[in-house]
Subunit: 795 residues, 2 copies
C-alpha cells in the first residue's frame, strides 16, 4: 500500500493561488449567506427588496466561514497532492457552508440535477435551504460527501477514526468545533490515536476550530492560555500547528502552510511505519484554527458587536424583511464578497473560483468513502453447521451462547484478514462477554506501550476495546458509514450510554433509505449480553433492559430486535444480522450456560419465522385448542417458561398448554406498524384470540403491552418481566424477586385459566411453598434451591 | 469563610505514624479479602476449611487495596489538619474496601447496629457482602459516606465538583480509576476546574489511580509516557504529583507527602483567592497514584501472574472451595496481613490500627455532606402570584412559558444569594431556553479568561453552563446529593445523552428511600424545552421526545413527568417540583409563544389534580354525557386540541365534546402502579368507559397506550403524537406531518363517533381540503397558513 502523498511543489502559495483560494472562499461564503436569507434575486442583479428575503430566517452563520475556509484548503491539498480525502464536519449545523462547496464543485448538481450550477440552480439552492419541502439546515444525509450530521455534538472525531480504520490511503480531515470539544464523547475520542495503525489505517487530521463561542458563551478551550492548550493536545498525543488570524489573505497563507506541514508529517509517519522503521506511536499533527465566529459577517448590528462573538451563531441580522436598515446591511454584506468576480452573468462560478477544486471522485462531495455503500462487499460468512451445538433432546445440555458465537466471529475475522473490512468493538468486554475465541484470528488494536504480561494486544488488530461506549459506537458508525462491517458487544445496561448516538444513527439510516443515490450500508449490530438477569457480581446499577424500549420508539423500517433463547438460535440470528443492510439490529443474548432447546435446523426455521409454537414443550396433544398459552422471549424467561410447562405437565396433566417462543420482538407489532409485524390472523393463530396468555419477557413487561395492545386477545395478555427490582443476588432469586420464576408462572396459569383455581389449589399452594422455601434457603446457603440448579427438561 | 487547613506539623512521617498507617491499611485489606471469601472463621482462629468459604465468590479485589490506601491517607490528613472532607470513590465496584474502612472507623456499626465492631460483627460483615439478603458488591447507597456508586463509570469527577460547589470549607477527594478515565463523561469533567470558584467553593483533589488494567486490558493512561500524561494533566489545568511503587512503606511515605503537598497548595490557593490577592485560575494539584492492581494479593495463581495484572480484577483465587491448593493460598494471603497485630482476640481493631482514624462527623463514613438530606434546607420560593400572567379569556394572549419561569428563577437565585444552595445548570442553553432573566440575580460561573465583549460571566456565578450534558448532570447530582437544590434546563432531544445517568440517579434514590438513615434530598428537576415541535432551526436530529418513555420505565416512587400546557401551569409545576424531595421530575415545556389557557388559580387547581376536564373548552352543556373526549398533554397538542374543539363547535354544534388536559402523565397509570395513578372510577369519570377518546400527546403516541392499557375504555383510545417524522420546517407543518394537527383531530372525531361519519362528511372534506391547502401554501410561501397563525380561541 502507498501512503499520503507529499506535495509536489512545496507549500509556498504564489499570489495567483492565494487569490484563487480567496475567491473560492468568498464564493462559498456568499452562497452560505444566500442560503440563509434569499428566496429571490440570487445574484443581486437588482437592489435587495424585502420580498427577496425568506419569511423565516433559519440557519447557522457563525461557523460557516470557518468551514468554508477548511473546505477551500482541503480542495487545494487534495488537488495538489492527489489526496484521497474526506472530511467530517463536526459543526454540521453549518450546513450552508458544506452545501455551498458541494454546489461549487459540481457534486450537488450531479446528485440533484434540478439544482444546476447556474443562476437558476443558485436560486433553488438558496430557496430550498431550511424551507418547507427543501433540505435540512444541517450537514445531513441529504448532503453529498457527508457521513456525519453534526446535529448532536460529540462524535465527529470517533466517526473520523472509524472512517480511517482499514483505509490506508485515506486522509480523514475532521473539523472539531470548540463547542463540541467540551462534550464527553469528543473529549474521550482524542485517545483514538492509540488505536490507529499507521500501517493498515489511514490518517485522521483533527482541525480544532476555535471561533471562541458557543450559542451564548465563550468556549473553554478558546480561553485557555495557548501553552495550556498545547499541553492538552500533546497530552492527547498530538503535535499542534496553529493558524490564527482575521485577515483573510494572511490566514490563507498560514492555513496552506499548516495543511502542508501536517500532511507532510503524516506522510513521513506512514512511510516510516510501512517501511518497518517506526518504533513508537507517531505524535500525529493536528491544526488549531483560530478565526472569528461569523467572520466576514456584520461587525455590528443595532450597536452591538456581532462578528467575533456568540451573536453571530445563527442569523446575525434577524429583522431584514421588516427593518430597512438591516436590509441595507445585508446587501452590503453580500456585496462585500465582490459577486462579479465570483460568478458570471449566468451565475456560473468563474474559473478562478474553481481553480482549487479537485476532479471527479476526489471532490469531497463525490468521494465514494462518504457513500460507503458504494464500496461495501458482502461479508464472507461460514456455514453455521460448523458451529452449531448438537441437540438430541431439548433442555438437557448447556452451552454459553456468546462463547459459541465467538467461534463464529473468529471465522469471520479469519476470513476477512486480507480484506480487513470487519471489526468487533466493545468497552473492555470482549472476553468478559466470552467472545474471546476471536482473538485467535485477530488481536486487540493497541498502539500504546506493551508489557510482557499483556495478552492479545496487536498493533494491527481489528478487535477494538476502549472503556468508552461512546468511542466504540462512534468508531463503528464511522467504519460502517464508509462501507465496512462490524459488531458492538456491550453490557446490556450500559448500552444506554449511547442511547442518543443510536438515535442519531437510526435517524441517519431512515433518511438515507429514501435517497436513491445513497447505497445501503451494513447494519449496525449490537450484541447486548451480561444482561439484567445475570449481574451476579454487580447488582442493581448493572440491571437495565430498556435499550430495546428505546430503539423501538424509532423508525420501524430501520430497527430490529432479537432475543434468541439458546445457542443455535443466537448463531442463526447472528448470521442474519451480519448479512443485513441498513438496519440497527439489537440482539440480546446471555453469556452464562444456557439450555440448548433447538438443533440448528429447528433454530433456523424458528428464527426465520421470528416466533412460533414449540409443540414439543406444550401439552396440546389430543386437545382442539389450548387452555392457556405460555409465551416467552429471552433466554432466562424461556428457561423459566419451559420449567413452568414441565411443572404443569407433572401437576396438572390434563391442562392443554401451548408454548410460544418469540425471537423477533417486532413480530408482535401490527403488520402496518413494522415490516416484521404479524397480521391479526397470524397473531391469533399463535396466541389465540381468547385464551389467557402468560408472557415471560426478558425486559420491562409493559413493552409487550405497548407492542400488542391492538390485538384481539390483548385483554387476556398477562406479562411478567423485569420490574426494576435488583441487587447482587443469585440468578434464581432475581427471577423470583421480579415474579418471573417458574413457580409464579404456574400460579399465574392457575389464577387465569377459567375454572382452574379450585381444583388446582393444592398445586398453587405447592408453588407458593416452594417460593418460600427458596427464600429461606438462599438466605442460609447463598445458593439457589437444588431443585432449580439441577433442573433439566424432563425425560 | 476559612480555607483548607495546613498541616500543623509538616509532612514528614515518623516511624510510629508510618507503621500505624500501614496497620490500618493492612486491616482494611484483610477485611476486604474477608468479605469476598469468608462466611465463617473471620479471624482465622482455626485453619481455613472449605465450609468457611462462600459458595459463590463475587466481588472486585483488584481496585480494593488502592482504595484502602487512599482511605487510610485521607484519614490521616483529616485528623492531622482537622479537615472537613468527603471522598468520591470512582472505582466504586471496590465496595469491600469502603465497607472495610467504614467498619474500622465505627461508622458502619453506628449506621447498622447489628454489625458490631468485633468478631461477631466482622463475621456478619463478611457474610452479608454480595450475599442474598445482604449488601451489594459496590459502594452503594447502603454504604455510609458514599454519594456515588461507581457501578457505571464516568461520573466520579463531576460528582466531586458538584459536592464542592458552595461548600467553601470542604475538600472532596475523588479517586478516578484508569478505566473510568477512558470514558467520555470523565474526560470532559476534568475541565470542571474552569468553573470552580476558589472563594465560595471548596476544593476537589483528583487522585488518578493507575493500577494499569481494566477487566481484560491495559488502560490507555497507564501506558502513556509519563511526560505525555503530565502534559495531559497540565492541559486539563492541574499540576500532577506522582506517587509510584509497590513497596508499602515507601508508598505510604510518598503518599503522605503527596497529600500534604496537595493540601498545602490548595490551602494557599484558597487563601490567596479569599484574601483577594489571586489574579489567575489556580493550577490545582492532583495526584497520580501508580500501584499494582490487586496489590498484596496472590502474585501467581495456577502458574499465571495475577497481582499487577488484569487477572486480579475480580476474584483472584476462584476455586477455593474445591481446590485445596487455592484454599492454602487464600489462607496464606489472609495471614500475610498479620491478623494478630490488627485485631484483638475479640475481633476489635487494635489501637494502632485506629490511630489515624478521625473522630465523629469528620470520619469519611459519617460526614453529613455525604448524607446531604441532613443539611438540606427548604428552598425559599416566592409567591407565584407575582409572576403569574393575567388570563381574562383563554387562548387569546400569548406568553413564552420558560421566559416567565426565568423571572421566577431570578427571584429564587436572588433569595439564595447568601445561602448559595441553588444552582441552574445547562449545556449553553440558558438564554436559548429563554431563562435569561436569571442573569439579573446571578451570572454564569466562569474562571477562565474573559474579554470585554462577554456578558453575564461571573467568577462567583451559580448558573453553570458547559457544552456537556454529562458534566451538567454530574455537577447537579453531586450538588443535590450533598444537600442543595437545582434545576437542569436542557434541549428535549439531547437529554437522551444522560439517559444512563438519570437511570443511575433514579436507582440511587429508589434505594435511599428505603434507608431510614439516609435523609431525603431535593429532587433532580429537568426542564426539557426547545422541544420536538419547535426545532425550526435544527430539524430531525433535534427531535426526540423519548426521555419521558425512558424514565417511566424506572421506579414509580421516584419518577414524575409533567407537561404543563401554558405559562401559569408551568409556574405551578415549577413551584411544586422545586419544593419536592427524592424525586426525579421531568417537566416538558415550550419556550415559544404559547397561548395562555388558565389563570393562576385555575392553573394551581388543575396542576394539583394533574388531569382535568376543561369545561369551558368543551360542548357538553345540555348533554348528559359526551359523544367524544378530546384529551391532550403538552403545549402544542393542547393548542391543536383546543383548535379542534373550536372547529367542532363551529361545524358540528350539536356534538357533545369533552376536553381533558393531562399535566401529570403518571395520572394515567393504574393506582397500584404509581403513587399518582388514578383509580378506574376516576379515570372513567374523566375519559368515560365507552366513548371515543382522541388523545393528542406531545411524544410517542404508544406511550399513552402503555400507561392506559388496563383501563376499561382502552379499546376506544386513539392517540396522536410524534411518529418520528421530522425535518426543518414550519411549526404547523410538523404537526401536520405527524397527524397531530387540528384538522386531523377533527377528522379523527368524525371517523370514530358512531353514526357521525355520514352527516359530517362535508366537514371532513373541508378539513381534508384545508390540509391540502396547507401543503401547497407552505411550499410556496415558507410559512404556515394564515388561518393557523392568526388563530385564537373564539370569542
Amino acid at each position: 500500500m502507498s501512503d499520503v502523498r507529499t506535495a509536489p511543489t512545496g507549500s509556498a502559495l504564489d499570489d495567483d493561488e492565494l487569490h484563487a483560494l480567496d475567491a473560492h472562499w468568498r464564493a462559498a461564503n456568499y452562497l452560505a449567506v444566500g442560503q440563509i436569507y434569499l428566496m429571490g434575486n440570487p445574484l443581486l442583479t437588482e437592489p435587495l427588496r424585502p420580498e427577496h428575503i425568506k419569511p423565516r430566517l433559519l440557519g447557522h452563520w457563525g461557523t460557516s466561514p470557518g468551514l468554508n475556509l477548511v473546505h477551500t484548503h482541503l480542495n487545494r491539498v487534495i488537488r495538489s497532492r492527489g489526496l484521497d480525502a474526506i472530511c467530517v464536519w463536526g459543526p454540521g449545523h453549518g450546513g450552508p457552508a458544506v452545501l455551498a462547496n458541494s454546489w461549487l464543485d459540481g457534486t450537488y448538481s450531479e446528485t440533484y440535477p434540478d439544482i444546476t450550477r447556474d443562476a437558476d440552480g443558485m436560486a433553488q439552492l438558496f430557496r430550498q435551504f431550511s424551507f418547507p419541502g427543501g433540505v435540512p439546515s444541517h450537514v445531513a444525509p441529504e448532503t453529498p460527501g457527508s457521513i456525519h450530521e453534526g446535529g448532536e455534538l460529540g462524535y465527529a472525531l470517533s466517526h473520523a477514526y472509524g472512517a480511517a480504520f482499514d483505509n490506508p490511503d485515506l486522509v480523514v480531515a475532521c473539523v472539531i468545533g470548540d463547542g463540541e470539544a467540551e462534550t464527553g464523547p469528543l473529549a474521550a475520542s482524542w485517545h483514538s490515536n492509540k488505536f490507529l495503525d499507521p500501517v493498515h489505517d489511514g490518517a485522521v487530521l483533527p482541525i480544532l476550530h476555535l471561533n471562541g463561542y458557543k450559542i451564548a458563551n465563550p468556549t473553554v478551550l478558546s480561553r485557555l492560555p495557548e501553552e495550556e492548550l498545547d499541553e492538552l493536545m500533546r497530552g492527547y498525543g498530538h503535535e499542534p500547528i496553529h493558524v490564527t488570524g482575521d485577515d483573510p489573505l494572511t490566514v490563507h497563507r498560514e492555513m496552506a502552510a499548516a495543511m502542508d506541514t501536517a500532511l507532510d508529517r503524516i506522510a513521513a509517519f506512514q512511510r516510516a511505519a510501512r517501511g518497518g522503521g517506526a518504533d513508537r506511536r507517531p505524535n500525529w499533527p493536528m491544526i488549531v484554527l483560530r478565526t472569528p465566529k461569523g467572520w466576514t459577517g456584520p461587525a455590528e448590528v443595532d450597536g452591538l458587536p456581532v462578528e467575533g462573538t456568540w451573536r453571530a451563531h445563527q442569523v446575525p441580522l434577524a429583522g431584514v424583511r421588516d427593518n430597512p436598515e438591516h436590509l441595507v446591511q445585508l446587501e452590503e454584506w453580500l456585496r462585500s464578497y465582490r459577486i462579479d468576480e465570483l460568478f458570471d452573468h449566468e451565475g456560473r462560478p468563474r474559473p478562478q473560483v474553481l481553480e482549487c477544486v479537485p476532479e471527479g471522485e476526489r471532490r469531497l462531495g463525490a468521494n465514494p468513502h462518504a457513500n460507503g455503500g458504494l464500496l461495501l462487499r458482502d461479508l464472507p460468512l461460514p456455514d453455521l453447521g460448523r458451529f452449531a451445538v448438537p441437540v438430541d433432546k431439548p433442555g438437557t445440555t448447556l452451552h454459553e451462547p456468546t462463547r459459541v458465537l465467538g467461534d463464529l466471529l473468529e471465522q469471520v475475522m479469519a476470513d476477512t484478514a486480507e480484506r480487513r473490512d470487519f471489526r468487533l468493538v466493545g468497552p473492555d468486554e470482549t472476553a468478559s462477554n466470552r467472545l474471546q475465541a476471536v482473538f485467535e484470528a485477530s488481536g486487540k488494536a493497541w498502539q500504546a506501550r506493551t508489557l510482557d504480561v499483556d495478552e492479545h494486544l496487536d498493533p494491527h488488530g481489528r478487535v477494538m476495546e476502549i472503556l468508552s461506549e461512546h468511542t466504540c459506537q462512534g468508531w463503528l458508525e464511522g467504519y460502517l458509514l464508509t462501507g465496512r462491517h462490524g459488531l458492538f458487544s456491550c453490557y446490556e445496561a450500559f448500552v444506554h450510554i449511547v442511547d442518543s448516538m443510536a438515535n442519531q444513527h437510526i435517524k441517519w439510516l431512515r433518511t438515507t433509505r429514501k435517497l436513491p443515490w445513497r447505497r445501503p450500508l451494513a447494519s449496525l449490530n449490537y450484541l447486548l449480553t451480561s444482561h439484567v438477569w445475570r449481574q451476579d457480581h454487580n447488582g442493581f446499577s448493572h440491571q437495565d433492559p430498556g435499550f430495546v424500549d428505546h430503539v423501538l420508539n424509532k423508525a420501524p423500517e430501520v430497527v430490529r430486535v432479537y432475543l434468541p433463547p439458546d445457542t443455535n438460535t443466537l448463531l442463526s440470528v447472528a448470521d442474519h444480522v451480519l448479512r443485513s443492510k441498513d438496519y440497527v439490529n439489537v440482539v440480546v443474548a446471555g453469556k452464562q450456560p444456557c439450555f440448548d432447546w433447538l438443533d440448528m435446523d429447528a433454530a433456523r426455521a424458528h428464527c426465520a419465522r421470528g416466533a412460533g409454537i414449540w409443540e414439543w414443550a406444550g401439552s396440546e396433544d389430543g386437545h382442539t385448542e389450548p387452555d392457556v398459552v405460555l409465551a416467552c422471549a429471552g433466554d432466562v424467561p424461556t428457561q423459566e417458561t419451559l420449567a413452568a410447562a414441565a411443572l404443569l405437565r407433572e401437576h396438572l396433566p390434563n391442562l392443554a398448554v401451548r408454548v410460544v417462543n418469540v425471537v423477533d420482538l417486532a413480530r408482535l407489532l401490527p403488520k402496518d406498524e413494522h415490516p416484521h409485524g404479524m397480521s391479526d390472523a397470524e397473531y391469533d393463530a399463535l396466541f389465540t384470540a381468547d385464551k389467557p396468555v402468560i408472557f415471560a419477557y426478558h425486559g420491562y413487561p409493559w413493552l409487550i403491552h405497548r407492542l400488542a395492545y391492538r390485538r384481539t386477545g390483548h385483554r387476556n395478555l398477562h406479562v411478567r418481566g423485569y420490574k426494576e427490582i435488583g441487587t447482587t443476588t443469585t440468578p434464581f432469586d432475581m427471577v423470583v424477586r421480579n415474579d418471573l420464576d417458574r413457580y409464579r408462572l404456574v400460579m399465574d396459569v392457575i389464577d387465569r385459566v377459567p375454572g382452574l383455581a379450585v381444583p388446582a389449589a393444592p398445586v398453587r399452594q405447592l408453588m407458593e411453598d416452594t417460593r418460600l422455601r427458596h427464600h429461606d434457603w438462599i438466605r442460609e446457603h447463598g445458593t439457589d434451591l437444588p431443585e432449580v440448579t439441577d433442573w433439566t427438561w424432563p425425560a
